[in-house]
Symmetry: D2
């Protein structure tokens, strides 16, 4: 099930960077969810490179829905979305058939696919494939919205500069979803862009941390022992190129706390059971507790840099010097956030459906 | 597939803390792997509480293999291991049917299981269930050993104190696997124990970070887009109670690096392709590159503390004060490391088998 | 997922005929289903050999529930049932380590497990394993009953003798479930027993056809394209030893009909949409239509016969003569019917849960 | 996993009869398999209606490979094939939004998809979707061929007329794969076509039985208890519209045999272990024994007939008279055989890969 993820709601992705198209199939979605093509386009535009800090390859992302939607609503059968690859310059990548770009999958792809891999532009390992995930994710986000659930991600850290924390989660999410560079504090946003440009000027790149919050997700969802909310989200999130760490709530900071600090005290507020802190990120024992779900992802610096790098020619098994040409992003973190939103939305739909399934068997 | 994990090799776990037994089924393992019951017992002893820094509940962990082993070797059919629960004092936990222990799953279990959950001692959410995983993991570790692969974990950080980094990975793994408190530097080990005792004296608990290395794992293994080595390992690791973050290689530190630092340059050493640094933790594009696989897990402080805590009575929906009695660990990090080794070993067997399956279809 | 079956509700089986125990885990069942140990025992007694037409090996089938049940109700966590093997005479089977019994899996097990298989009494391929399925199935049947659904199987054909067809399905099911030799017409029942005894007198065995009906199962359940009601049921049913054919409704007889005969005309009866015939077995397009689900299974004759048979010694690769000793059934069809009921009940719970999950995502 | 099937090698299908396209994704296939577009086209032509006994809707089946193939070989990543729907006349089907065609899924689709289903031409339930399976299956057949395995299907029975049995399986397969109407005996072929035309003249339709043989498939393949060769094949085969029964070897005829007849005696021939009969269809205990795999499928008569039929208007819940117009096949059995070949080839690749995976974990 290499390129398919999920149990009740599942996502299948396909495509190579320089092949005819990338695409995704979203299956198991309930019938009757309104499909807003403008919203899909808007989500795709958040992932599309733009401005000085992005690659010069501009993809139009004209998507086509091939199945599963009828008269503007999901039918309940597989939804297939295809995004043709148009602005492809394969000549730039010919060296990849033998030179391993550091931080990329050229060499490991060679090992796994024995030389039959489509090496152009990273092939199936290209971030290009995530465009299809974003299109599919837009439908999952609509499904969640239909049940009153909102989701948003900010750049918590980039090039060593940190955004402010989430405060009022619902309104913060609304603010973020209207931004193309998703930082809560405007001044910090400007500083981050400058830092990215400084790296770009050095022929280098930067990484960062993306933090996501989910508002109004029902309590009692998650399928331990193994299909915990944390486990299933992390599994899918690590499929996104460049993600090298995933943590929930206070995550790695919990390692330095004592139990009396880390335990979120339960309380009652407005007649509902809440916790007065949220170090657990809204999840206890792998199951949601009704507080906002909060998680963050480590995004490594874009591996494609213009600085000269040492590497190997894996066909001739000899060392080599690599100087990349072509079109590359000095940062992808601002583009990755909508991919994270999309993956998270699909996983959360799946977990909701599984909870609904179990409950539907309870005695009448 | 809530309590079953894996594709070609899979693990199913069952049991409640105060029920008759916990257990595990390991299916899909090749026939012909020698099953060493002494090694299973030794692994269980690493998880068993011992000494001043552990709970006074001492479990004997007499395991019984009910199926899948014949004349000392795996048969290829499901291997079932059952560990009876003996030293059970359920009276201590009666409050849990209504008081939510902060940091525990009592409240979320109630939401999910609608009051039918076995609340005694955390029920199915108890760390007790991990004993069965350790027994199953011992067989997976034997399978890996039969192919020359070694795996070990150290306490990288505990109570704010850090161990030295891995240096010679193979010999470090050997050293760690002979220790009950797995710290590479002896003096740091003593300091950590003192810090745990200090927390215990305060009626409090500590957490930490566990770092794992895998030596000699083949290159070219992993099933992207979704069944990346990172994704599958993280999915299973988050099933272990108390894990709130998982990162690979330099993980969250990568967020602050530039591409020129973070990219591991390829090189040739002893006729083999290697990388001169290992920020990626031995994984590019979700596929192993032949370098040691390195990952670390954030372990939150044990939520059971003796300090009085604010909470709610979720049956009557009113606030309450909670003072835990019973037997609790001020730290579980030293016991959790063998659980992580076990989970990782099972997942790595699964990924190896999947690679073997794909390759077996190549034209002759 | 070799020994695990199902998506939302799943069954894992383990054990060998002459190992310590057989058992099953049923996961994904809703919490709050009453577990009636007497009913489990009663179902096991239907599978247990009895009387002149069965093997002299009488198994007591003392089962133990190790997890997932608390205070008499399912908790929602994995339900583990273990049945120890007591009356084991392994000496009778020593030849199986080298002589392939015709119609058995000795030779194919050798090919697959490379000589590490537990060959005693058929090992994991023994019908003994189905006892655990029956115990788990009893809980699934209780879950269905809690939603008003009934299920029963009759011996439609045995040794060339046919039972009458189902007429009033609900009352026929009630009648069958009270019988140990499940034939609707008493006289035919007697004739079948005589035919089995005649075969036994010849040192031979017989097979037959089991037909199952499900009453009051909701319409609209099934997950095409691949998880059709037919496909999922057949998949699981073929896991039962001796099943070599599965058909729905009129099945293979449809091959000889014209469309105008085979198409079940829709009609309205009592305000509900029904079909006036049920050649489709209650399933159109893989989805239930509200009519009784009807399917039948071909049960091959028990392969263990006392007549001398030609075979091979697969260790020495030479022909051999085989004369079985030990305890063998001249027919297992009367015992197999409760296994079919059990497998069907588990699969139907799974399909119900999946439908519930999808519907739970529809907009509010 | 409704529209995805398989474990190591898996197939996902999508599309509606009157939507933009149908398609399939085949994932998990090894890299390095030559993709012959002419062979794909040839296979599609076998499924395409032709001549007097087929619908007048002629589909061109121009397929496009969107991913997973590079320089003429599979890459090891998901292979996506899309077949646009061109010759669509939706107006013919407008009644289906309310009138349930007997034998079709219109009513059950309504129940499951709550009115959001694409009802035109059967939507996702249309046999049209099987075109995509045939295209994907052509690649699986090539993979099998690369390992010396052949597969073919004949019309064993149609309109009450029976073909001769398989004799020399390898050459029979070769003969069948060159025919568009796959009957081994020419005269019988003519008689069948006449019988189909006779039914067509009556405004009626016929069904039949398709029997498939697989030559040179390795022994020792299959994943019991649940992923038996029988179970997995049947599961997938029942996904094909119109299949209502699946049997292996002598199947339902075994029900009337005695053990001494049904048991296939083992023998040695040419130094290999064989069976002198093949009632088991090459499978013992769910595992292949090295003899040809033989199975057959009951194909119900095409439900679309021109005769007037009684039905209901399920929107208004009232009875109605239905007279179909449009383009319909009096028989689809001759077109279905290549669908069965395709599904079987994909499933057999999956089972081969799983066996390879398990074996790859054996100690070195």
């Amino acid at each position: 099930m290499k390129n398919t993820f999920g149990t009740s709601v599942n996502l299948t992705v396909f495509g190579e960077s320089h092949g005819p198209a990338v695409g995704a199939i979203l299956d198991g979605v309930a019938p009757g969810i309104a499909v807003d093509e403008c919203f899909i386009a808007e989500q795709l535009s958040k992932r599309r490179p733009a401005g000085a800090i992005s690659t010069a390859r501009v993809e139009e992302d004209d998507f086509e829905i091939l199945s599963g939607v009828f008269n503007g609503y999901t039918t309940g059968t597989p939804i297939t979305i295809v995004i043709p690859n148009k602005n492809v310059k394969s000549a730039d990548y010919s060296e990849m058939s033998r030179l391993a770009r550091p931080g990329h999958a050229d060499y490991t792809a060679r090992l796994k696919y024995h030389g039959f891999e489509d090496f152009r532009g990273g092939g199936h390992f290209s971030g290009r494939v995530t465009a299809a995930i974003v299109a599919a994710g837009a439908i999952a986000l609509s499904a969640l919205k239909g049940r009153g659930i909102k989701l948003g991600t900010h750049i918590k850290e980039c090039a060593g500069i940190s955004d402010r924390d989430f405060s009022d989660i619902e309104s913060d999410i609304d603010v973020l979803n209207a931004l193309s560079f998703a930082v809560l504090d405007n001044k910090i946003s400007d500083a981050m862009v400058e830092a990215v440009l400084a790296a770009a000027a050095d022929g280098d790149s930067v990484g960062g941390i993306l933090e996501t919050a989910v508002y109004n997700f029902p309590a009692g969802v998650g399928e331990p022992m193994f299909d915990t909310v944390e486990g299933v989200l992390a599994h899918a999130l690590f499929g996104i190129p460049a993600i090298k760490g995933v943590q929930f709530g206070s995550g790695f900071e919990l390692a330095g706390m004592r139990g009396s600090e880390a335990n979120d005290p339960f309380d009652i507020s407005g007649g509902r059971i809440v916790t007065s802190t949220n170090h657990s990120g809204g999840i206890n024992g792998g199951i949601t507790n009704g507080m906002p779900i909060v998680f963050s992802c480590a995004v490594k610096p874009t591996p494609s840099i213009f600085k000269s790098q040492q590497t190997v020619d894996f066909v001739n098994c000899e060392t080599a010097e690599l100087s990349l040409k072509g079109r590359h992003d000095p940062a992808i973190i601002h583009r990755a956030r909508v991919v994270i939103d999309s993956v998270a939305a699909i996983v959360l739909c799946d977990l909701l459906a599984q909870r609904g399934g179990t409950d539907s068997l309870m005695p009448e």
